[in-house]
Symmetry: C2
């Protein structure tokens, strides 16, 4: 990083590329204070800002590696910026400053990617992205009926930028990465032609900057910075994880699926904790231990399954319901977040209240890791679980560490991941037990071995359907999350919107070319078609698990590469073809490792699809064996069971890929 | 007005009530600059502000009647405030300042009313009101299906603050009025407990302040300030204006209505200019002269009607369609607003383009007033017209006066009113010819003799139905608009939403107690029930016109009072009962003059209604003759034909009011 003075300011550049260009007329920094209004309703936030002051810091004094900024010459210092090798470190003496803006030099044809796990737009240029962990929304498109109805019923419609996993980090096509080290509410505004604006509702500790010669190196640097995941456990390569929540009937159904040729690595039963009956229907009982009523003799069945090569997975989240035994234990020990009167803060999840385990209290975090996840789950025989939620920390609770809950809200998913990772490590199961999360924030990479894309609608919609999990995998993957997967067939079925067999099959086709195949019955299992309810779907699914297993040697190599270098399994095309700018905007196809290109069918009734093949390689179409040269868009047939997949003709795995035709 | 210095600032008070209370810690003024994004689609605006700087002006120096403000001591002056008897006058040397904020002292239990013609909330406390003339929206409620669909189809759904007629003026329950003299985009933010925030996208010329001992005096002051309307023309008292757009068939239908007992003052045919057939259906031909094809021998028919005591009214708006003869004339003379290349700016109104007559060019304004409205309409025999539109000035046109169209946009309705008023005056018909407008802004009062409430949906909805025109009449009335009326039965029928006979009858019941009764066929006449299509509706309507005529002597007295003192015909209850704070929030009933209280039925299927009667008077229920003492809420039966109406038992018109029972 280089700091140079100019007539009325300074320039900061990285590897010769200007990042900040400050002059008295076009200042790079603004500070001020604001009074925000934030209201949460079941993980959805109404947020409105009232900026009371926003002052341009026009006057800069450069002294060595330090820049001192104020409004005008002779005025008190408002902000001090100190350059280190990789960061701008900030300090401000005025405690009333709770708004910070920085303008980064931008070019008109620059692309930017990242922002955590983004579901709608991979290239973020041209839009504004608030970064605040929350429910991502149902529909996520103000022009859709489902979004409208979700908004009316529960403020739940969402918008393009809502995500369970935001992160104030981006990669620029100028081959640098910028990361804001803060847990405050922040915003990336990429709408301007000549600058990007970084906003944070606190002066950030620092803004880190990394440059590299190639995108691959940049991704490696970020994954080293945020933490890498272990390799996938060996057992995952045996097939799909089958999600059922049907009590003991789940075992019978699993057996039938296996008989139909489905390759299975695990059985995942969310309802292992039992059910609660509410006016909305059956909900899980939020007390994290096996329910012998719903699953008699579960411990034995788990070990039986294990002997058959099938793992058992469960479910957990960071709340405890008031009527479960664990609540009492936690409350006695003072493990819950408190309300303003010092009482246990209770959160309504729909006809039942829960306490929020306070992970800033290390005793509480240790208890949850060791006694709950360790004692009740791992020791019981679970090989994995959905570690649900993480986005709901209420902003008005009192926490043990004394930090404002508004500043802890974004950090909560990472704390939650850490609790899970500690539990796994405490039993020596790191890289063996597999939990998966939807929520995230900076640092979740270090603790969470597998992301899942959250709750898509059971449809092909642009902003909440199948295609959004590609965007999610690619954006999160650039920031050091090597493994991503999603609910096959989607999750959210509301207002009469139900799965079609076609959706289920198209989703399974895609999932076969991701790190993990996992099915989900969805939020309304009875209203939606299930894998084992339609012979065509079942046969198709079985074949896809076969394809997944056939790809396992390649996937293992990718997993080794991820652990060693931090490269994600699913990659944007430009990662390996940065000379080909045609690839920079693509978000509906991806590289599966460096050698396979997957272009899922993400719309209904598509008998063919156009696919851009990047320049510089020769590509073989898996199902026809036809070879195409890169730098072209080609159209290939895409009947059910033959999603557009290509491999590099010169791949060392070419022989194996060619065999896919025979499966 | 009184200016006093305090240790770190100053206080400005009016009649002993503090308006501004400035200290270094809580400054009263902020200035800055912003870069807004504004896009118009058919009169609906997407507006988003990017505030680049907002500086608190903490340091104040008071010198006589002048306050000089800057950020900190020793810094350059940013804003100078000069006190006069009735205003704060502003000047700022820095031309980059295009954002201005002022904080006015507020009490927690203060009420505020005004803001022009507000359709959703009469008491504006607790909400934020952007003030920008535009389409008011269809549905105007983000939770309604109609709003959602209107947004998706044409960005047309609107919100609670959208109005054809905004005005940056309010009245406080502290018995003062505040008016911002600016045509820039502005905002009244009444959401804070201890201050109101006035925002303007330009430093305003001045902010006027008026105080009075009573609300009545305050309203008189404002009406004198903004201009008063002449008395209603004599012919209006003959009955209702019947709106038909059925070609010559209109005359036949009018005749039948008269035979059914309908009292008629005028026949209003929008389609007097002929029709244009588009894929959306029939539209008017926007060239402002009689169409002999659609109305053969119209001039004679008008004079025939006149002899029968019925006036003829037409339609005009400030655009000229490219394929009409007037366009050519205007373009040759250079009367149109220009685009960035100096060509006539064309606006698409849906399959036809129009020029925008540039009223900042006095030759163009005179031509439109004298040759078009004067020559083609008044001289032809028209006694009135709907002077439609005024809200659509595109913000990117070049105007003859050289002023930014963004600063002229809000002024356009007033210029449009002035053109109409000049035309009427040029023929000596002021107070005789009656035009009515929906668009407005500061100063429209002086020129426009009658407001109409715009295009309500044909329903009972809270934010776009019958009840909204009460709010409209009351808010506009406080600011000097004495006469208000609305389309009986509403106008906008979309997405299968159609009039019920009940709606039509309830609306007519209310209209009988307003200055003008006027029917409208609506935007889709064939899909919606019409006055003359249902015998029950027709009989009911006929009776209501009888009631209107019976009330004429009282209405004449109110009209005289309006001309003399500026008091509106429709008044909020608190205007005459300011000691009774229960009346301050009421917006679904009104005083019709001082002696009649009207509580329209504004929801479907109401057989009774609760009505608050203000304290200090005895009230007689019109239909039962029952007397009630004020200060109570009473519930009265409200079958069709008997809207809850009360009169002051001690009114000099009590005898006439009592006779209503017999009609």
């Amino acid at each position: 990083m280089k700091l140079e003075t100019t007539p009325t300011g300074f320039t900061i550049s990285l590897n010769g590329h200007a990042i900040l260009r400050h002059t008295a007329l076009t200042p790079a920094f603004y500070v001020g204070h604001g009074d925000e209004r934030m209201a949460m309703y079941r993980g959805n936030f109404d947020i409105e800002d009232y900026v009371i002051e926003r002052s341009a810091l026009r006057y800069a004094v450069v002294d060595g590696d330090t820049v001192t900024l104020c409004e005008r010459e002779g005025q008190p210092t408002r902000l001090v910026v100190k350059l280190t090798d990789t960061a701008l470190e900030f300090s401000a003496e005025d405690p009333s400053i709770n708004r910070f803006w920085m303008r980064v030099v931008a070019d008109h044809d620059e692309h930017v990617w990242g922002g955590g796990e983004q579901m709608s737009y991979f290239d973020m240029r041209g839009r504004r992205f608030p970064l605040w962990t929350s429910e991502p929304g149902v529909g996520r498109d103000k022009t859709s009926e489902i979004t409208f109805k979700s908004n009316v019923e529960g403020k739940a419609g969402g918008d393009y930028y809502n995500t369970n996993y935001p992160q104030p980090t981006y990669i620029s096509s100028h081959r640098y990465a910028l990361h804001v080290e803060t847990s405050a509410y922040s915003v990336f505004d990429f709408r301007r032609k000549t600058f990007h604006e970084i906003e944070a509702w606190a002066v950030p500790e620092r803004i880190e900057l990394y440059a590299a010669a190639t995108f691959v190196e940049l991704v490696e640097i970020l994954s080293a910075r945020f933490g890498r995941q272990p390799q996938l456990p060996e057992w995952i390569y045996n097939g799909a994880i089958i999600g059922l929540k049907d009590g003991t009937n789940s075992f019978t159904r699993l057996e039938k699926m296996k008989e139909a040729g489905v390759k299975v690595s695990g059985l995942w039963c969310e309802d292992w904790v039992g059910l609660r009956h509410t006016s909305f229907g059956a909900r899980l009982f939020w007390d994290w231990q096996a329910n012998e009523e719903r699953y008699p003799g579960l411990r034995e069945r788990i070990s039986q399954l294990h002997d058959e090569g099938v793992r058992f997975l469960g479910y957990v989240n960071p709340y405890l319901c008031v009527d479960g035994p664990l609540f009492e234990e936690a409350e006695k020990a003072g493990y819950f977040a408190k309300d303003e009167f010092g009482r246990t803060a209770l959160v309504d999840f729909g006809e039942f209240d829960c306490g929020v385990v306070d992970f800033t209290n290390s005793a509480a975090a240790d208890w949850f890791a060791d006694s709950v996840i360790g004692g009740k789950m791992l020791d019981y025989g679970l090989s994995g679980w959905m570690a649900d939620f993480g986005e709901y920390l209420p902003i008005d609770v009192e926490l043990a560490n004394g930090v404002d809950a508004k500043l802890m809200h974004n950090q909560w998913p990472t704390l939650w991941a850490e609790v899970n990772a500690k539990a796994v490590a405490s039993r020596g199961k790191t890289g063996e037990a597999l939990f998966f999360m939807r929520a995230g924030y900076t640092g979740v990479q270090k603790h969470c071995p597998l992301l899942w894309g959250g709750d898509q609608s059971v449809d092909f919609s642009r902003h909440d359907g199948l295609v959004t999990v590609i965007c999610a995998a690619l954006s999160a993957g650039l920031l050091g999350n090597a493994y991503h997967h999603s609910d096959i067939g989607g999750y959210t079925s509301l207002f009469g919107n139900v799965r079609t067999p076609e959706l289920l099959m198209r989703w399974a086709e895609m999932a076969a070319f991701t790190p993990v195949m996992r099915s989900h019955e969805g939020n309304r299992p009875r209203d939606n078609v299930q894998i084992d309810q339609d012979p065509e779907v079942l046969a198709h699914f079985a074949r896809m698990t076969g394809i997944y297993v056939h790809m396992a040697p390649y996937l293992k190599a990718l997993s080794a590469e991820a652990a060693a270098k931090g490269l994600p399994v699913q990659r944007p095309l430009f990662l390996h073809y940065e000379h080909d700018r045609n690839t920079y905007g693509i978000q509906d196809s991806y590289l599966y490792g460096s050698d396979v290109l997957v272009a899922p069918i993400w719309q209904a009734a598509q008998s063919e699809r156009a696919v851009y093949l990047p320049e510089g390689s020769s590509w073989t179409h898996v199902w026809s064996g036809e070879q195409y040269s890169g730098g072209n868009e080609v159209t290939v047939a895409s009947p059910l069971g033959e999603p557009p997949v290509f491999y590099r003709s010169d791949s060392p795995f070419a022989g194996r890929f060619a065999e896919l035709r025979t499966l």
